[in-house]
Protein backbone atom coordinates (compact mmCIF):
# COMPACT_ATOMS: atom_id res chain seq x y z
CA UNK A 1 0.00 0.00 0.00
CA UNK A 2 2.82 2.42 0.78
CA UNK A 3 4.09 2.10 -2.78
CA UNK A 4 0.76 3.32 -4.01
CA UNK A 5 0.69 6.39 -1.79
CA UNK A 6 1.08 8.75 -4.75
CA UNK A 7 -1.78 7.10 -6.58
CA UNK A 8 -3.94 7.17 -3.47
CA UNK A 9 -3.27 10.87 -3.03
CA UNK A 10 -4.03 11.62 -6.67
CA UNK A 11 -7.34 9.79 -6.41
CA UNK A 12 -8.25 11.48 -3.12
CA UNK A 13 -7.44 15.00 -4.30
CA UNK A 14 -9.18 14.70 -7.68
CA UNK A 15 -11.39 17.70 -8.30
CA UNK A 16 -14.04 18.66 -10.84
CA UNK A 17 -14.50 22.35 -11.65
CA UNK A 18 -18.23 22.95 -11.47
CA UNK A 19 -20.57 25.83 -12.21
CA UNK A 20 -23.84 25.85 -10.27
CA UNK A 21 -26.73 27.79 -11.82
CA UNK A 22 -30.15 28.28 -10.28
CA UNK A 23 -33.02 26.74 -12.22
CA UNK A 24 -34.72 29.47 -14.22
CA UNK A 25 -38.20 28.82 -12.80
CA UNK A 26 -37.13 29.24 -9.18
CA UNK A 27 -38.60 32.39 -7.65
CA UNK A 28 -35.96 34.92 -6.69
CA UNK A 29 -36.01 38.43 -5.28
CA UNK A 30 -33.06 39.42 -7.44
CA UNK A 31 -30.75 37.92 -10.05
CA UNK A 32 -28.85 34.83 -8.89
CA UNK A 33 -25.23 34.71 -10.04
CA UNK A 34 -23.78 31.30 -10.88
CA UNK A 35 -21.56 29.78 -8.20
CA UNK A 36 -18.25 28.11 -9.01
CA UNK A 37 -16.76 25.31 -6.93
CA UNK A 38 -14.12 22.58 -7.19
CA UNK A 39 -15.92 19.37 -6.22
CA UNK A 40 -13.98 16.48 -4.67
CA UNK A 41 -14.48 13.36 -6.76
CA UNK A 42 -14.53 11.05 -3.74
CA UNK A 43 -17.23 12.94 -1.83
CA UNK A 44 -20.99 13.39 -2.10
CA UNK A 45 -22.93 16.35 -3.52
CA UNK A 46 -24.99 17.08 -0.43
CA UNK A 47 -21.88 16.94 1.75
CA UNK A 48 -19.92 19.62 -0.07
CA UNK A 49 -22.52 22.12 -1.30
CA UNK A 50 -23.48 24.06 1.83
CA UNK A 51 -21.95 27.19 0.31
CA UNK A 52 -23.90 26.67 -2.90
CA UNK A 53 -27.13 26.37 -0.94
CA UNK A 54 -26.38 29.52 1.09
CA UNK A 55 -25.45 31.46 -2.02
CA UNK A 56 -28.77 30.87 -3.77
CA UNK A 57 -30.95 31.03 -0.68
CA UNK A 58 -29.68 34.59 -0.14
CA UNK A 59 -31.76 35.74 -3.12
CA UNK A 60 -34.86 33.69 -2.32
CA UNK A 61 -37.67 33.95 0.18
CA UNK A 62 -37.94 31.28 2.86
CA UNK A 63 -41.35 30.12 1.61
CA UNK A 64 -39.96 29.33 -1.86
CA UNK A 65 -37.26 27.05 -0.50
CA UNK A 66 -37.59 23.35 0.17
CA UNK A 67 -35.09 20.52 -0.16
CA UNK A 68 -32.22 21.29 -2.52
CA UNK A 69 -31.55 18.94 -5.42
CA UNK A 70 -29.23 18.98 -8.41
CA UNK A 71 -29.70 18.19 -12.05
CA UNK A 72 -27.48 17.88 -15.12
CA UNK A 73 -29.07 18.28 -18.56
CA UNK A 74 -32.42 17.08 -17.27
CA UNK A 75 -31.06 14.18 -15.22
CA UNK A 76 -31.56 14.45 -11.45
CA UNK A 77 -28.22 13.77 -9.74
CA UNK A 78 -28.26 11.01 -7.15
CA UNK A 79 -26.43 12.46 -4.17
CA UNK A 80 -25.66 9.00 -2.87
CA UNK A 81 -23.39 8.30 -5.84
CA UNK A 82 -19.85 9.70 -5.45
CA UNK A 83 -19.35 12.96 -7.33
CA UNK A 84 -16.63 11.49 -9.56
CA UNK A 85 -18.96 8.67 -10.57
CA UNK A 86 -21.75 11.09 -11.51
CA UNK A 87 -19.39 13.17 -13.59
CA UNK A 88 -17.75 10.23 -15.38
CA UNK A 89 -21.13 8.70 -16.10
CA UNK A 90 -22.94 11.79 -17.34
CA UNK A 91 -20.58 14.59 -18.27
CA UNK A 92 -17.06 13.36 -18.92
CA UNK A 93 -17.29 14.01 -22.65
CA UNK A 94 -18.50 17.57 -22.21
CA UNK A 95 -16.34 20.65 -21.82
CA UNK A 96 -15.47 21.89 -18.34
CA UNK A 97 -16.74 23.36 -16.11
CA UNK A 98 -19.42 20.84 -15.28
CA UNK A 99 -22.69 22.79 -15.44
CA UNK A 100 -25.10 21.74 -12.72
CA UNK A 101 -28.57 23.20 -12.22
CA UNK A 102 -29.79 23.83 -8.68
CA UNK A 103 -33.44 23.28 -7.68
CA UNK A 104 -35.38 24.08 -4.53
CA UNK A 105 -38.81 22.91 -5.69
CA UNK A 106 -40.51 19.83 -7.12
CA UNK A 107 -38.22 17.23 -5.57
CA UNK A 108 -38.20 14.23 -7.96
CA UNK A 109 -39.37 11.52 -5.54
CA UNK A 110 -39.04 8.74 -8.08
CA UNK A 111 -35.44 9.49 -8.97
CA UNK A 112 -33.74 10.71 -5.83
CA UNK A 113 -33.37 9.72 -2.21
CA UNK A 114 -34.04 12.46 0.33
CA UNK A 115 -31.10 13.87 2.23
CA UNK A 116 -32.51 15.62 5.29
CA UNK A 117 -29.18 15.82 7.15
CA UNK A 118 -25.48 15.01 7.09
CA UNK A 119 -26.24 11.99 9.31
CA UNK A 120 -27.99 10.35 6.37
CA UNK A 121 -24.88 10.74 4.22
CA UNK A 122 -22.73 9.32 7.00
CA UNK A 123 -25.06 6.33 7.42
CA UNK A 124 -25.00 5.67 3.69
CA UNK A 125 -21.22 5.95 3.47
CA UNK A 126 -20.64 3.68 6.46
CA UNK A 127 -23.08 1.12 5.07
CA UNK A 128 -21.13 1.04 1.81
CA UNK A 129 -17.89 0.49 3.73
CA UNK A 130 -19.50 -2.29 5.77
CA UNK A 131 -20.96 -3.91 2.70
CA UNK A 132 -17.53 -3.94 1.06
CA UNK A 133 -15.88 -5.37 4.16
CA UNK A 134 -18.48 -8.13 4.32
CA UNK A 135 -17.05 -9.29 1.01
CA UNK A 136 -13.38 -8.57 1.76
CA UNK A 137 -13.02 -9.78 5.32
CA UNK A 138 -16.39 -11.30 6.26
CA UNK A 139 -16.92 -8.00 8.14
CA UNK A 140 -14.20 -8.94 10.65
CA UNK A 141 -12.04 -5.86 10.21
CA UNK A 142 -14.84 -3.31 10.29
CA UNK A 143 -16.53 -5.00 13.24
CA UNK A 144 -13.33 -5.18 15.29
CA UNK A 145 -12.87 -1.43 14.97
CA UNK A 146 -14.13 0.85 17.68
CA UNK A 147 -16.86 3.38 17.09
CA UNK A 148 -14.27 6.14 17.19
CA UNK A 149 -12.42 4.54 14.27
CA UNK A 150 -15.62 4.52 12.20
CA UNK A 151 -16.11 8.14 13.15
CA UNK A 152 -12.56 9.00 12.11
CA UNK A 153 -13.12 7.41 8.70
CA UNK A 154 -16.20 9.55 8.18
CA UNK A 155 -14.65 12.74 9.53
CA UNK A 156 -11.64 12.20 7.28
CA UNK A 157 -13.93 12.14 4.27
CA UNK A 158 -16.11 14.99 5.46
CA UNK A 159 -13.16 17.26 6.22
CA UNK A 160 -11.01 16.23 3.27
CA UNK A 161 -8.28 14.83 5.53
CA UNK A 162 -6.32 12.21 3.58
CA UNK A 163 -4.07 11.07 6.44
CA UNK A 164 -6.92 10.92 8.94
CA UNK A 165 -8.99 8.84 6.51
CA UNK A 166 -6.25 6.45 5.44
CA UNK A 167 -5.03 5.83 8.99
CA UNK A 168 -8.22 3.78 9.34
CA UNK A 169 -8.87 2.78 5.74
CA UNK A 170 -5.48 1.08 5.37
CA UNK A 171 -6.69 -1.57 7.84
CA UNK A 172 -9.64 -2.25 5.54
CA UNK A 173 -7.24 -2.64 2.64
CA UNK A 174 -4.98 -5.20 4.32
CA UNK A 175 -5.16 -8.95 4.18
CA UNK A 176 -3.16 -11.59 6.11
CA UNK A 177 0.27 -12.33 4.66
CA UNK A 178 -0.53 -16.01 4.20
CA UNK A 179 -3.53 -15.19 2.01
CA UNK A 180 -3.01 -13.98 -1.51
CA UNK A 181 -5.64 -11.29 -1.37
CA UNK A 182 -9.13 -10.49 -0.18
CA UNK A 183 -11.74 -13.19 0.10
CA UNK A 184 -13.76 -11.39 -2.56
CA UNK A 185 -13.10 -8.10 -4.29
CA UNK A 186 -16.15 -5.85 -4.21
CA UNK A 187 -16.79 -3.69 -7.22
CA UNK A 188 -19.73 -2.05 -8.91
CA UNK A 189 -20.15 -1.47 -12.59
CA UNK A 190 -22.24 1.45 -13.71
CA UNK A 191 -23.11 1.92 -17.34
CA UNK A 192 -24.81 4.67 -19.22
CA UNK A 193 -26.67 3.80 -22.38
CA UNK A 194 -24.15 3.52 -25.16
CA UNK A 195 -23.83 2.61 -28.78
CA UNK A 196 -22.82 -1.00 -28.23
CA UNK A 197 -25.05 -1.95 -25.34
CA UNK A 198 -28.54 -0.51 -25.69
CA UNK A 199 -29.72 -0.31 -22.10
CA UNK A 200 -31.92 2.60 -21.16
CA UNK A 201 -31.16 2.60 -17.45
CA UNK A 202 -28.06 2.80 -15.39
CA UNK A 203 -27.86 -0.43 -13.45
CA UNK A 204 -25.61 -0.56 -10.46
CA UNK A 205 -24.37 -4.09 -9.96
CA UNK A 206 -22.33 -5.65 -7.27
CA UNK A 207 -20.89 -8.77 -8.84
CA UNK A 208 -18.75 -11.04 -6.73
CA UNK A 209 -15.78 -12.75 -8.27
CA UNK A 210 -13.66 -15.37 -6.55
CA UNK A 211 -10.36 -13.76 -5.57
CA UNK A 212 -8.30 -16.82 -6.44
CA UNK A 213 -9.09 -16.43 -10.08
CA UNK A 214 -8.79 -12.68 -9.91
CA UNK A 215 -5.33 -12.43 -8.44
CA UNK A 216 -3.57 -11.40 -11.58
CA UNK A 217 -6.48 -10.14 -13.59
CA UNK A 218 -6.53 -6.63 -14.82
CA UNK A 219 -9.61 -4.46 -14.70
CA UNK A 220 -10.09 -5.04 -18.43
CA UNK A 221 -10.17 -8.77 -17.91
CA UNK A 222 -12.69 -8.40 -15.12
CA UNK A 223 -14.90 -6.31 -17.36
CA UNK A 224 -14.71 -8.80 -20.18
CA UNK A 225 -15.54 -11.52 -17.71
CA UNK A 226 -18.68 -9.79 -16.63
CA UNK A 227 -19.66 -9.43 -20.28
CA UNK A 228 -20.73 -5.85 -20.21
CA UNK A 229 -20.11 -2.85 -22.40
CA UNK A 230 -18.89 -0.83 -19.52
CA UNK A 231 -18.20 2.79 -18.87
CA UNK A 232 -16.95 2.88 -15.35
CA UNK A 233 -15.92 0.85 -12.35
CA UNK A 234 -16.53 2.11 -8.89
Amino acid sequence: MTDDKDVLRDVWFGRIPTCFTLYQDEITEREAEPYYLLLPRVSYLTLVTDKVKKHFQKVMRQEDISEIWFEYEGTPLKWHYPIGLLFDLLASSSALPWNITVHFKSFPEKDLLHCPSKDVIEAHFMSCVKEADALKHKSQVINEMQKKDHKQLWMGLQNDRFDQFWAINRKLMEYPAEENGFRYIPFRIYQASGILVPQPEIEPMLPVVEVQSLNHWTIVEVLKFTLLGVLLIF
Binding site: E73, G74, T75, P76, K78, H80, L90, S92, S93, K110, D111, L113, A123, H124, M126, S127, C128, K130, E131, A134, L135, S139, I142, N143, P186, A192, S193, G194, I195, P200, E201, I202, P204, M205, L206, P207, V208, L231
Partner: protein, 140 residues
Protein backbone atom coordinates in the same frame (compact mmCIF):
# COMPACT_ATOMS: atom_id res chain seq x y z
CA UNK B 1 -15.65 8.18 -24.67
CA UNK B 2 -18.79 9.63 -26.14
CA UNK B 3 -22.05 8.01 -25.12
CA UNK B 4 -25.67 8.72 -25.64
CA UNK B 5 -27.64 9.01 -22.49
CA UNK B 6 -31.20 8.96 -21.37
CA UNK B 7 -32.43 12.32 -20.24
CA UNK B 8 -33.78 10.96 -16.98
CA UNK B 9 -32.75 8.24 -14.61
CA UNK B 10 -35.65 6.09 -13.64
CA UNK B 11 -35.53 3.91 -10.59
CA UNK B 12 -37.75 0.89 -10.47
CA UNK B 13 -40.90 2.21 -8.78
CA UNK B 14 -40.12 2.41 -5.09
CA UNK B 15 -43.66 2.60 -3.87
CA UNK B 16 -45.86 -0.15 -5.14
CA UNK B 17 -49.55 0.63 -5.55
CA UNK B 18 -51.83 -1.68 -3.53
CA UNK B 19 -52.78 -3.83 -6.48
CA UNK B 20 -49.21 -4.48 -7.52
CA UNK B 21 -48.01 -5.95 -4.26
CA UNK B 22 -49.52 -9.44 -4.41
CA UNK B 23 -48.12 -10.09 -7.87
CA UNK B 24 -44.52 -9.22 -7.04
CA UNK B 25 -44.06 -10.46 -3.51
CA UNK B 26 -45.58 -13.82 -2.84
CA UNK B 27 -45.51 -15.59 0.50
CA UNK B 28 -44.40 -19.16 0.85
CA UNK B 29 -46.80 -20.67 3.33
CA UNK B 30 -49.09 -23.65 3.48
CA UNK B 31 -52.18 -21.47 3.90
CA UNK B 32 -53.96 -20.63 0.67
CA UNK B 33 -53.28 -17.10 -0.51
CA UNK B 34 -55.00 -15.12 -3.26
CA UNK B 35 -53.74 -16.85 -6.36
CA UNK B 36 -50.74 -15.23 -7.92
CA UNK B 37 -49.26 -16.43 -11.15
CA UNK B 38 -45.84 -15.37 -9.93
CA UNK B 39 -45.85 -17.39 -6.70
CA UNK B 40 -42.84 -19.60 -6.13
CA UNK B 41 -42.29 -21.99 -3.26
CA UNK B 42 -38.87 -22.86 -1.88
CA UNK B 43 -37.00 -26.11 -2.39
CA UNK B 44 -38.48 -26.87 -5.79
CA UNK B 45 -36.58 -28.28 -8.72
CA UNK B 46 -36.31 -24.79 -10.17
CA UNK B 47 -32.77 -24.11 -11.24
CA UNK B 48 -30.98 -21.62 -9.04
CA UNK B 49 -29.22 -18.57 -10.32
CA UNK B 50 -29.96 -16.33 -13.23
CA UNK B 51 -32.75 -18.41 -14.71
CA UNK B 52 -34.89 -17.93 -11.61
CA UNK B 53 -36.78 -14.64 -11.75
CA UNK B 54 -37.52 -14.59 -8.05
CA UNK B 55 -35.28 -15.05 -5.08
CA UNK B 56 -36.13 -16.34 -1.63
CA UNK B 57 -35.98 -13.94 1.26
CA UNK B 58 -36.21 -14.72 4.96
CA UNK B 59 -37.28 -11.77 7.10
CA UNK B 60 -36.24 -11.54 10.73
CA UNK B 61 -37.47 -8.93 13.21
CA UNK B 62 -35.01 -7.13 15.47
CA UNK B 63 -35.70 -5.92 18.98
CA UNK B 64 -39.31 -5.03 19.69
CA UNK B 65 -40.23 -4.66 16.03
CA UNK B 66 -43.42 -6.58 15.29
CA UNK B 67 -42.79 -10.04 13.89
CA UNK B 68 -44.31 -10.81 10.52
CA UNK B 69 -46.57 -13.85 10.52
CA UNK B 70 -45.16 -14.85 7.17
CA UNK B 71 -41.38 -14.73 7.18
CA UNK B 72 -40.42 -16.39 3.95
CA UNK B 73 -41.12 -14.64 0.69
CA UNK B 74 -40.31 -15.09 -2.97
CA UNK B 75 -39.43 -11.70 -4.37
CA UNK B 76 -38.72 -10.48 -7.90
CA UNK B 77 -35.00 -9.88 -8.38
CA UNK B 78 -35.59 -6.32 -9.49
CA UNK B 79 -37.52 -5.34 -6.38
CA UNK B 80 -35.67 -2.58 -4.57
CA UNK B 81 -34.97 -2.43 -0.87
CA UNK B 82 -37.29 0.60 -0.71
CA UNK B 83 -40.03 -1.48 -2.30
CA UNK B 84 -39.48 -4.19 0.28
CA UNK B 85 -39.54 -1.62 3.10
CA UNK B 86 -42.85 -0.24 1.84
CA UNK B 87 -44.25 -3.76 1.61
CA UNK B 88 -43.23 -4.72 5.15
CA UNK B 89 -44.59 -1.45 6.54
CA UNK B 90 -47.94 -2.12 4.87
CA UNK B 91 -47.95 -5.71 6.08
CA UNK B 92 -47.18 -4.62 9.66
CA UNK B 93 -49.65 -1.76 9.36
CA UNK B 94 -47.03 0.85 10.25
CA UNK B 95 -47.81 4.46 9.44
CA UNK B 96 -45.91 6.08 6.61
CA UNK B 97 -44.00 8.35 8.95
CA UNK B 98 -42.58 5.43 10.94
CA UNK B 99 -39.16 4.37 9.79
CA UNK B 100 -38.08 0.85 8.92
CA UNK B 101 -34.49 -0.25 8.39
CA UNK B 102 -33.36 -3.38 6.60
CA UNK B 103 -29.98 -5.02 7.24
CA UNK B 104 -27.90 -7.64 5.48
CA UNK B 105 -25.58 -9.91 7.48
CA UNK B 106 -26.70 -8.05 10.60
CA UNK B 107 -24.12 -5.47 9.67
CA UNK B 108 -25.06 -3.02 6.91
CA UNK B 109 -28.14 -1.32 5.55
CA UNK B 110 -28.18 -1.49 1.75
CA UNK B 111 -29.10 1.63 -0.19
CA UNK B 112 -32.89 1.85 -0.77
CA UNK B 113 -32.44 1.72 -4.52
CA UNK B 114 -30.44 -1.51 -4.49
CA UNK B 115 -32.11 -4.52 -6.03
CA UNK B 116 -32.66 -7.61 -3.90
CA UNK B 117 -31.42 -9.83 -6.72
CA UNK B 118 -27.97 -8.27 -6.58
CA UNK B 119 -27.85 -8.57 -2.79
CA UNK B 120 -28.86 -12.20 -3.09
CA UNK B 121 -26.00 -12.88 -5.52
CA UNK B 122 -23.45 -11.40 -3.14
CA UNK B 123 -24.82 -12.23 0.30
CA UNK B 124 -27.29 -15.05 -0.14
CA UNK B 125 -26.63 -18.48 1.35
CA UNK B 126 -28.47 -21.79 1.38
CA UNK B 127 -30.60 -20.53 -1.48
CA UNK B 128 -31.96 -17.51 0.35
CA UNK B 129 -31.21 -13.98 1.43
CA UNK B 130 -31.69 -13.34 5.13
CA UNK B 131 -32.74 -9.78 5.96
CA UNK B 132 -33.24 -8.28 9.39
CA UNK B 133 -35.72 -5.43 9.75
CA UNK B 134 -36.04 -2.94 12.57
CA UNK B 135 -37.94 0.24 13.42
CA UNK B 136 -34.76 1.82 14.70
CA UNK B 137 -31.15 1.77 13.52
CA UNK B 138 -29.94 -1.55 14.90
CA UNK B 139 -26.52 -1.70 13.29
CA UNK B 140 -26.20 1.87 12.03
Amino acid sequence: MAEEQESTLLLPPSTAPEAEVPAEVSPETATPEPPSSAAVSPGTEEPVGDTKKKIDILLKAVGDTPIMKTKKWAVERTRTIQGLIDFIKKFLKLVASEQLFIYVNQSFAPSPDQEVGTLYECFGSDGKLVLHYCKSQAWG
